[in-house]
């Protein structure tokens, strides 16, 4: 009887391991014989692309039935770090060339990245402007509650450049992981002012007011996109990247407030 109990325990362990391995498998496929795309396309995209990419994903799925677009939105530096550690992505769209370069240096991207949109910063204040913020100079005062992106995130790096150009030393109260986290602090009225992208102010609608400032035109964030070298679904990845560069996609980006090349 002892041998049966040992065998049973061993079988249980093997079964659990197999089940866990099954959890990790993906269903990415490539083109079939007829040239139809199928499977899942996993897109890692900067947080500021959330609304536009979600819409374009639906359009892409409508044009290619059989393909499902799955997203992971976040700070470009966090996404680049995940790709370096082997996250199973097909496409990477970063909010700055620096994070794309990080991924290229790690050997995860061999294709040439192409810029598809650019963006600029805008001051965001809660509805009603409770902190009576008038411009960039208010970011140098300690009284207002200020949220900025962390420096390693593209919008944080752009904000640093803007402050350097205007000679202001910012006094933030919190540094958030991506631009949407910063925007949330504004919509919740937890901070008096924040520096986010122009597209984020537009996406937030009337929960947030935007204040433009002259130095914003001097710091432009260009967004590169590239398929990943080890993409599980390379054919759909290439098709998705092509779609992002297409004219219908450009219209969606322009409507959201991005500048298209």
């Amino acid at each position: 009887m002892q041998i049966f109990r040992t065998a049973g325990a061993a079988a249980a362990v093997v079964a659990v391991t197999a089940a866990l391995a099954g959890c990790g498998s993906d269903d990415a496929t490539s083109t079939s014989a007829t040239g139809q795309l199928s499977g899942t396309v996993t897109v890692f995209a900067a947080a500021s692309l959330t609304e536009t990419f979600t819409k374009l994903g639906h359009d892409f799925e409508a044009a290619h039935p059989g393909v499902k677009v799955v997203y992971s939105f976040g700070g470009s530096s966090a996404l680049a770090a995940q790709i370096e550690q082997g996250a199973p992505a097909d496409v990477f769209a970063s909010a700055a060339p620096a994070n794309m370069q990080q991924v290229i240096d790690a050997g995860e991207v061999t294709a040439k990245p192409e810029t598809f949109v650019s963006n600029r910063l805008e001051i965001a204040v809660p509805k009603g402007n409770p902190g009576t913020i008038t411009g960039l100079a208010d970011f140098g005062r300690t009284e207002p509650r200020i949220a900025l992106c962390a420096v390693q995130v593209p919008c944080g790096a752009a904000a640093e450049k803007v402050f350097q150009i205007s000679g202001i030393t910012p006094q933030p109260d919190t540094r958030e992981q991506d631009v949407k986290a910063v925007l949330t602090k504004v919509t919740l009225d937890e901070v008096d002012a924040a520096l986010v992208y122009r597209t984020d102010v537009q996406a937030a609608g009337d929960k947030v007011q935007g204040i433009d400032f002259p130095e914003s035109g001097k710091v432009i964030n260009t967004y590169p996109i590239a398929p990943l070298a080890k993409a599980p679904n390379a054919a759909a990845a290439a098709a998705f990247v092509d779609y992002i560069h297409s004219d219908p996609a450009k219209k969606v980006f322009a409507a959201a407030g991005f500048d298209t090349p």
Binding site: A10, R145, Q177, K185, L188, E190
Partner: protein
């Protein structure tokens, strides 16, 4: 045969810790250990965890006494409510704290309008978040200790003329001391490791609200070796906490 699954469980729990030790950048360890970022985050973490534990002791021991000794109706419901932060995902706790103590929160708006005080993005905010998640540990531990002590000593003290406060100070507390110590140490360790509630409620700013777990999370994106060193420090603190909870000091309490 239970040995095989038990060995698998042991391997599952121990291997990540071994991996951390194996991947530590031993060559640059001393430089990184004494760098400014590690020092700032560690100091902030230790101060906040200690303050949070102090709050938990001052508020939690009376609550435990209430649950164990007082004849309240609905004690079971109160005990269940007290245990909620224990099972609540920490980030949900952070969101809840934000909705109550944020600038537009249920109570926070009065704090802000009347006193100009706002807890998010401040060090006291970190302490509040940590106390919220750590207090159930203390309350449960102390309540267990109270239930297991003999009330006859307290009754004897009362018949000898001691006031309730004197009895609590000189008879009850010494009797439950092992439970209080064990609960306090667990509370401190939980507060030290808190991440979700801290980053959601208190935000992230070096020296003010960036505790060690937040520093690890941030460092992982830019400098994985720094993240490993910070993780090692936290691991050593955790091991020290466990070693301190040795049975002969807290027999019968945990």
């Amino acid at each position: 045969m239970l040995v095989l699954p038990a060995l698998c469980a042991l391997a599952f729990l121990v291997t990540p810790l071994i991996g951390l030790l194996v991947r530590t950048p031993w060559a640059s360890l001393s430089d990184r250990l004494f760098s400014a970022e590690v020092g700032t985050a560690l100091r902030l973490s230790l101060i906040c965890a200690t303050c949070a534990t102090a709050i938990c002791l001052v508020l939690g021991i009376p609550l435990a006494w209430l649950l164990a000794r007082a004849q309240l109706p609905g004690r079971g419901v109160i005990r269940a409510l007290v245990t909620v932060p224990l099972v609540l995902p920490p980030v949900v706790g952070g969101v809840a704290l934000l909705l109550v103590f944020g600038r537009r929160g249920l109570l926070g708006q009065y704090l802000y309008d009347w006193f100009g005080v706002s807890l998010p993005f401040t060090t006291p905010g970190v302490v509040v978040a940590e106390a919220f998640v750590a207090m159930p540990f203390l309350v449960i531990s102390v309540e267990g200790a109270l239930r297991s002590t003999d009330t006859r000593y307290e009754e004897a003290a009362a018949t000898l003329g001691a006031s309730p406060w004197y009895t609590f100070r000189r008879v009850t507390l010494p009797a439950i001391a092992p439970g209080v110590i064990a609960g306090g140490v667990l509370c401190w360790a939980r507060a030290l490791g808190e991440f979700g509630a801290t980053i959601t409620f208190a935000g992230n700013f070096p020296g003010r609200t960036t505790t060690m777990p937040l520093a690890v999370y941030l460092a992982l994106e830019t400098d994985p070796d720094a993240a490993i060193v910070l993780s090692l420090v936290l691991l050593l603190v955790s091991v020290a906490v466990l070693v301190s909870l040795r049975e002969r000091w807290i027999r019968g309490a945990v």
